[in-house]
């Protein structure tokens, strides 16, 4: 009887999805936010440029994937690396119809994967906007981005052509789902070691953030004390002057 109950519980536990964190990167206007809403099964594609952070949780097979969506504008990319420590893998979205910015995309991509907290993780590249006439096929994008150089930098990488904007009443582009499946499987291959690495990095980051917060609090408190001291001195000076004026010499 007892073992039956235990089995019941363990099977329940087995059913629970594995939590995984994946981050979207890519230039501004590549379609990261639209891609995320498509993955969520939404059709509302009226997004404003992201200059911040959003996260969405989507269950995919046995994985419960938390997606980080961050802005891709030039001024904002510097903040990406603050998130690398907590991710299992990343999705790089590239606008296949914007040939002029492929060089910039390549640079952003390699800057990311070369970051010590990123290197060795898995990367899915989605050659987005294939619905556009002027779009370049995925294999050409792969050449232009020099993806073969990724081999030594990531655990696995893959590029798939897709279109996040689905025509209304049409099913979602199957390539996206295929990509997510591929990514979660690659993550699964190194799951144990990845988790250990993430745990350590996140612990370090939390520690760092705590220190920074304490330092700020200390500075503000110090400044306040100084101001109060000054005000007090001022007050005393005034009182002294007053009493000096009142008492005749």
């Amino acid at each position: 009887m007892l073992s039956f109950i235990r089995n019941l519980f363990s099977s329940k536990n087995e059913k629970k999805e594995t939590p995984v964190t994946v981050m979207f990167i890519g230039l501004d206007n590549a379609g990261k936010t639209t891609m995320l809403s498509t993955i969520q099964g939404e059709t509302d594609t009226n997004t404003t440029p992201t200059i911040g952070f959003d996260k969405k949780r989507v269950v995919h097979g046995k994985y419960n994937i938390t997606y980080f969506d961050l802005g891709g504008s030039k001024g904002f990319r510097g903040i990406w690396d603050r998130y690398y420590g907590s991710i299992h893998g990343a999705i790089f979205v590239v606008d296949s119809a914007d040939e002029n910015r492929l060089e910039e995309a390549k640079q952003a991509l390699f800057e990311s994967v070369r970051h010590p907290k990123f290197t060795g993780k898995s990367l899915l590249i989605l050659a987005n906007k294939q619905d556009k006439k002027e779009s370049i096929p995925a294999h050409e994008i792969a050449q232009k981005l020099e993806l073969d150089k990724l081999k030594s930098l990531v655990h696995r990488y893959n590029i798939l052509p897709c279109s996040a904007i689905q025509a209304q009443n049409k099913p979602q582009d199957p390539q996206i789902k295929k990509g997510v499946t591929w990514l979660s499987e690659s993550i699964d291959e190194q799951f144990e070691s990845l988790n250990k690495r993430i745990e350590k990095d996140m612990r370090d980051e939390a520690e760092q953030a705590k220190l920074e917060r304490e330092e700020k609090r200390r500075i503000v408190a110090e400044r306040k004390a100084k101001e109060e001291e000054l005000a007090k001195a001022e007050e005393e000076k005034k009182l002294k002057e007053q009493s000096a004026a009142q008492s005749p010499e």
């Binding site: 200059i51 603050r82 920074e212 917060r213």
Partner: protein, 177 residues
């Protein structure tokens, strides 16, 4: 247009949200609010209590609460936290000396139970001033990257020229909608 989108759009038109504007004194909270409501901002004086205005944005009725930011009255902020749908946090981007102070205040707000999960729009205000820091610099200084429990966005803006304010509100409305 699919039936679902149509329904969603219809539903949207009678949507209402409660927004809270906070930030240090002199960051420009009241000016931002007045500018959004198309009012004159030249006569703005420090807010002693609070202002409420209803602003329409993308079919959303926004009830915006602007609370005074002076140090002595900051403890009263918590009286306004209840049932807040979105937080607008205003920063004087030209006042580098007080960035730490505003950062400490923001961190405290982030720990408030009643505001947990509430989306945050950080307005990097006073971009019309020459010495204003960029939105990215402000994001770094405030350590916004450590906010992981909710969605946030930073928008460079100027209550004086009105630049950026509408975009900021649109994002909030999109997020709430």
């Amino acid at each position: 247009m699919g039936l679902l989108t149509l329904l969603r759009k219809l539903k949207r038109s009678d949507k209402e949200a409660r927004l809270l504007i906070l930030g240090l004194d002199n960051s420009g909270k009241t000016s931002c609010l007045r500018k959004l409501a198309d009012e004159d901002i030249s006569q703005t004086t420090p807010t002693q209590g609070f202002n409420i205005k209803t602003v329409m944005s993308s079919g959303f009725k926004l009830n915006v609460w602007d609370i005074g930011g002076q140090k002595a009255i900051r403890p009263y902020w918590q009286n306004y936290f209840e049932s807040t749908d979105g937080l607008v946090y205003v920063i004087d981007s030209s006042d580098q000396k007080r960035l730490q102070e505003t950062s400490v205040e923001l961190n405290q707000l982030l720990e408030e139970e009643k505001l947990s999960g509430v989306p945050i729009m950080v307005l990097a205000n006073k971009q019309d001033l020459l010495n204003a820091l960029s939105a990215k610099q402000i994001a770094e200084e405030l350590g916004l990257h450590s906010i992981r429990d909710r969605t946030w966005q930073i928008q460079a803006c100027s209550a004086k020229t009105g630049e950026g304010l509408q975009q900021g509100m649109e994002w909030l409305v999109n997020t709430l909608g």
